[in-house]
Every structure is written in C-alpha cells, then in structure tokens.
Amino acid sequence: MSNPSRLHVPEPPARPGQPPDFSYLQLSPAGALPRPETGASWREVGSLAFGLIRVLDDSHRAVGAWDPHIAPENLRLGLRHMLLTRLFDDRMVRHQRQGKLSFYMKSTGEEAVSVAAGMALEPGDMLFPAYRNQGLQVVRGRRLVDLMCQLLSNTGDMCRGRQLPVMYHSAPAKLFSISGNLATQLPQAVGWAMAAAIKGEEHIASTWTGEGSSAEADFHYALLFASVYRAPVLINVVNNQWAISTFQGTAGGEQNSFAARGPAYGMPGLRVDGNDFLAVYAATRWAADRARNGGGATVVELVTYRAGAHSTSDDPARYRPRDEPEHWPLGDPIERLKLHLMGLGEWSEARHQELSAELDAQVSAEWKEALTFGTMSDGPRLNRDLMFEDVFKELPEHLRRQRELLRAELAGSP
C-alpha cells in the first residue's frame, strides 16, 4: 500500500508460511572468546557483550577458556534436572488440556538457562525468578508435589490459592515470590543485594527476566541501582527470541544485544549460548564470583529459544512459522549435554532411556499425590476464610466483617 511513512517498524525474519531464518543471530564459534579475570574492569570485558560465550562445540566437546570443568556426576545431575523439568512441563500442559489446570507455561528448550545457573549459584544466594524459570525450583529441590499443588490451587498450595499457576515461591529455598507483573522483581533483587552488602553478608542475589520484559522501567531501575551501588547481583535476560507474538527486535534486540546494556551502565555484559549448559554454568559462576568479591553486578544475556507456545492460552502458529523451532541454530540444551556426556563416555542412550522412564514415573507418582490435596473440581478445598488473611499481618476489623458477610452469603446461597 502507498504509505508516506518513513517510520522503521521491526519485522521478524519470518511469519507463518515463510521459511524460518535465524541469519540475524550473531554467533561465535565455541571457545572463541577469552575468559577475563573476574576482577577485570567492565571496560576490559566489553567484547563479551557482543560475542557469544560458548563451550560445547559442534561435536559436543567442551573447548576454550570458559570450560568450567564440571565433574561428570554434576553434569549428570544437571541433565537429570533439565529432563525432569521438561517431563514435568509436558505433563502439566497435558493436564491443562484435560481441564485439570486453569493455565500453564512451559520452559521447553530453555531448561539450561535455569538449571545451569541454579547449580552455579550457592544455596544461600537469593533467587528472583520470572515465570519461566521452573528449572530453578527443581534445582533448589522443591518437590514436584509442592509445585503441582500450587498449579492446582489446592490445600497443599504454598500460595493458599491466591496466585495464577506457575507463580511459585519458597522462603526456605530462597526462591522469591513470582509476580504476574513483568520485571518488577528486578529492582527488588537489586535492593535485596544492596541489603546484603549493607549488612556485610556475602550472599548475592540473582534475577531473571525475559527479553521482552526488559523493556519495562524496572529493568532500567535495576541496572541503574546495581551500577550506582555496585550491588552483588546477577541480572539475567533470557532472550528466547519471542515475547508472545513479538520477536526480540521489538524489544530492542535488532540494533544491539541485551548484554550490551551492562557496559552502558558501567557493568560487564555477558552474551551467552543459553542452550549450552556448560557456558551458562561458567558465565553464571564468573559473574557470581565477581559479585561475591565486591566487583558488583553483571548483566547476563542468555540466547535461547522459546520452543513451545507462550502459554496454554497461546498458539504460536498464528505468528511464526510452524517449523521455526526445528531451525533454531543453537540446538536443544538437553540433547547437547546428553551427547557431551556420551562423548565423555559418562552416559549412554540406554541410561538416558532409563532416566526418562524413572523421572516420568516420578512425575506420575507426585501428580497422584498432589491430587490428594484437592483438584479444581473436587477433593479437599481451601478454607474460604483464607481469602481475607495475609492482606495485612493481622486481620483488621473491616476484613473480619467482610469474612462474616461472605460466610453469610455462602450459607444463604443455594
């Protein structure tokens, strides 16, 4: 159409029916980038914001300065966590389809982003996740039953039925409450880290946001406060290329990387292959050590791909090629770690099948157990009085009155 407009409107490389095209992705070969000292000034590490930190090469060998040299049993543990996360996701989506859940969001294809980072951090570190970081819940040893009960809003729900599915939390596991409002956790994580520094404690904070959510003010606040006070915090941008129907260019990724925001505020920015378990682990550890030693914050961009739908309410076939996932150049994190382990002679197809079967059974068993705490339709239900609690620490008079009114209403209703 004849249009006078001179406005630039970012466009994804391919829409439905068009051939997938990831040529816009800047890739570096595995092992290509140097690994500076964790104490290096942000100016010295500037280049890491533009290249791509990768450890696993195309034949799945670990190469280069960023190889974290993880013991095989820990690699197997990482594989186990990622596989469990994926099987859990798949099952929950199935249950949502069956009407057993109101809503679900899976992290398929992005498991390494959460699992490798979670394993690279210390148990005492405080995590401020986004809604697609279920791998962190798994790494921190949350039982699936607890997560499932939250999804079911049943009597076992740690949120007492108040939150949408996947908005988990755990105080003992140091997993912060997930908000439905995007990016709000970012300055909160920085504030937590500032408090740790003020108190002279050496724990650090780590927080995650999607690349789309990085457009929110809170991302800017987080980088600014982290830079000004050199807060011990990791600010992770999970660039899975999509934010519902808009591609990463609409979020500002067309002109420069998201990692590049770090140097602008005088902090390192690391751009990392998010589907390379070893690279994510190594980059997270580098930034964590730096923060722990008083070097301040780091922005870590994890380049990955949202292989599934945004949520169970979404159909990606409406806005991207059906076969786009198969063309993603950085592969699948589970497959890549599996082949790496096999290359080391530390894993086999058989053991993998075995593990899958075991974890699958675990998911089934825990789901059965979760249902005993109640389902959306029947079984035990949370006490309705709970609706009025935790608005304030103590129940104020006006909410006590409203609780009475609701009781009357429920008694009065057929």
């Binding site: 409002n181 995007l182 929110e216 009025f388 209403e409």
Partner: protein, 338 residues
C-alpha cells in the same frame, strides 16, 4: 445491523475510525500482526498497514508517553494496555501528563489519546488479570472514563472516545467479551447473539459520554451498576421478583448525576454494585452523590455491593466476585432495612 460480540464491536469501532480518519493509529503489545491477545485488533494491521497498527515493546509507560507525543503531533492514538492490572507502569504518564496537558498549557496543547484496557474477573485470571481500577482514573481530573456493558455501547463509546479531543480511559469487562454474564459460572455460556445489544450497526455511530442508560424501568428501587454487574443485578432482581429500576452508569466521568438521582428520588431506595474492591471504590462516590441529592427521599440506607477488600484470588474467584447472592442480600436490605 449485524450480530457482534464485544470483541467484534470494538474491532469494528477501530476499523470505522481508521477508515474515516488517516490520523487514527493503534499501538500496544501484540496488537499488530497477532491482533491482540483478545483479538480486538484482529485484521487491522493487515488492512491499514504496520505503520498505523504498531506492535510495541512491553513498556506501558513508554506506550502512553509515545501516544501522547503522537497526539500532540496530530494523530489520534488508540493505545491498548493488555490488562488493566498492567496499567500502573503508565500511571504517571496518564495522571501527570495525559490528564494535565491541556490544563497546564491553557489549551495550547492537547493529546486526543484513547487508552483501552480489559478489566474485571471471571476468567480465572487470578489477582493480576482481574482488577477493576476505574476509581483510580475517576479521581484524576482531566480524564474521561467509560465502561461498556454490551457490544452496542462498546462500539459507540470507543468511536466517541477516538473522536473526542480529551483523553479517554475505556475499561472493557473481559468477562463480557464473548457474551453477557449473569454471575453464575455454572450456567452454560451465553452468546451475544441472543441479546438485543448484540445487534450492532456496521457503520459509524457514537454513544455520548456523560449519559447513563436506564436499562430497565422500575418502581421499587434503583440499582446502579456498570460493566459486568449490570447483567448480574438484573438477574438477581428478576430472581427475587423485585420491580427494580436498573441504571447502567456507562460513563464514569463525566457522571450522569441527574439520571441516577432522578431515579433514586423516585424509588427512594438504592443499591450500587461494582466488581472493584469496596473501600474507596467508585461506589463510594456514587453513594455519596446519591445521598447528597436524594437525602429527603431515601427510605433506607444506600447499599454498596462490591468485591471484598482483598486481591482477587485465583482459587476463590467466585467467592470474591459480587454474584447474585451478594446482590440479593443488598436488595433485601434496602427493602427491609434493619
């Protein structure tokens, strides 16, 4: 005339407005190629081009700030906030800027921006996909605020909003997008096809701001409601066999005080219903206004029916929602005051 649900009516409103005025543009999250998470802008980018229907970054404050600047430069932006629960990052640009620009510049600058946002519960959205923040805009002078209860009003109000030179906040009860809802989640869903207000002209028309609608004439009491609650109070009154006069406020700002108060002065009894949290909700303003204007005619205290003063819990959606039972108790109360 055509059968339209509220989504189609809103879509038609934007289509009509864009067709008539090349300066009308749409911006928001996922509104472009995808057509919006609720499909309200479906097909508009294909029809009018990606320069008039812009997918934006996920930054509500940036969306409204940019829309204001576009408005100053002669466009008529229609900004979509994906959920009313997510409007707060834009609150400063709305309250301090959009609402104030004409005043502080003595009319030399203004920005005719329309801000659309789905509001209300009933879709199991939990505390961050169910809010009704109308009073947070009603208190801010300089904004017009409206909430339709049906497709006909939705289209008429939205075209009116787009053509209005003042900024307008349009709250869309998402539970009504696909059909009327009487408050009973167990009944099978009804479509707008069966409802007279689902009959919507395909062409241009407007529903004026500042005019409430008497959706049912009655003698025993006046029920003042808006959005989803219009349907709930009607069902409750009918179920109880009361001859209630039911008024759909429709336009929160400006408020049609005369229509509301003439009715209450006539019936002498008044129930006010909204889905939002009760404390300092818009029902308070309605109750205070009615009391001030109908004091000598009131035969019972005005009753407010509203959501509880808690967030909207995922598990207790229907215990939170002011359904027919809560309404009925209020209707009883005005008829037989303690």
């Amino acid at each position: 005339m055509a059968q339209m649900n509220m989504i189609q009516a809103l879509n038609s409103a934007m289509d009509v407005a864009m067709g008539r005025d090349p300066n009308v543009v749409i911006l928001g999250q996922d509104v472009g190629f995808f057509g919006g998470v609720f499909r309200c802008t479906d097909g508009l980018q294909r029809k009018y081009g990606e320069h008039r229907v812009l997918d934006t970054p996920i930054a509500e404050g940036g969306i409204i700030g940019a829309a204001l600047g576009m408005g100053v430069n002669g466009l008529r932006p229609v900004a979509e906030v994906q959920f009313a629960d997510y409007v707060y990052p834009a609150y400063d640009q709305i309250v301090s800027e959009l609402a104030r620009l004409r005043y502080r510049s003595a009319g030399d600058f203004h920005a005719p921006v329309t801000v659309r946002m789905p509001c209300g519960g009933g879709i199991r959205g939990g505390q961050t996909h169910s809010q009704s923040p109308e009073v947070l805009f009603a208190h801010v002078c300089g904004l017009k605020v409206a909430i339709p209860s049906n497709p006909y009003d939705a289209k008429g109000l939205l075209i009116g909003a787009i053509e209005d030179d003042d900024p307008v906040i349009l709250l869309e009860p998402k539970r009504l997008y696909n059909g009327p809802f009487d408050g009973d989640p167990n009944k099978p869903a009804v479509s707008w096809g069966t409802h007279p207000k689902g009959e919507v002209p395909v062409e241009h028309y407007t529903v004026p701001f500042g005019r409430a609608e008497v959706v049912r004439a009655g003698t025993q009491m006046t029920i003042i409601a808006y959005g989803t609650m219009v349907h709930v109070v009607a069902a409750a009154a009918q179920a109880m066999g009361f001859d209630a006069e039911i008024i759909d406020v429709r336009s929160i700002v400006p408020l049609d005080v005369d229509t509301l108060c003439n009715s209450v002065c006539k019936t002498g009894r008044c129930v006010i219903a909204h889905e939002a949290t009760r404390f300092a909700g818009f029902g308070a303003e309605l109750a205070a206004t009615v009391m001030e204007n109908c004091f000598w005619n009131l035969e019972a205290p005005i009753q407010r029916v509203a959501g509880w003063d808690t967030p909207y819990p995922h598990a207790f959606e229907w215990e939170y929602f002011p359904g027919q039972t809560r309404v009925s108790l209020a209707l009883k109360a005005v008829m037989e005051p303690a």
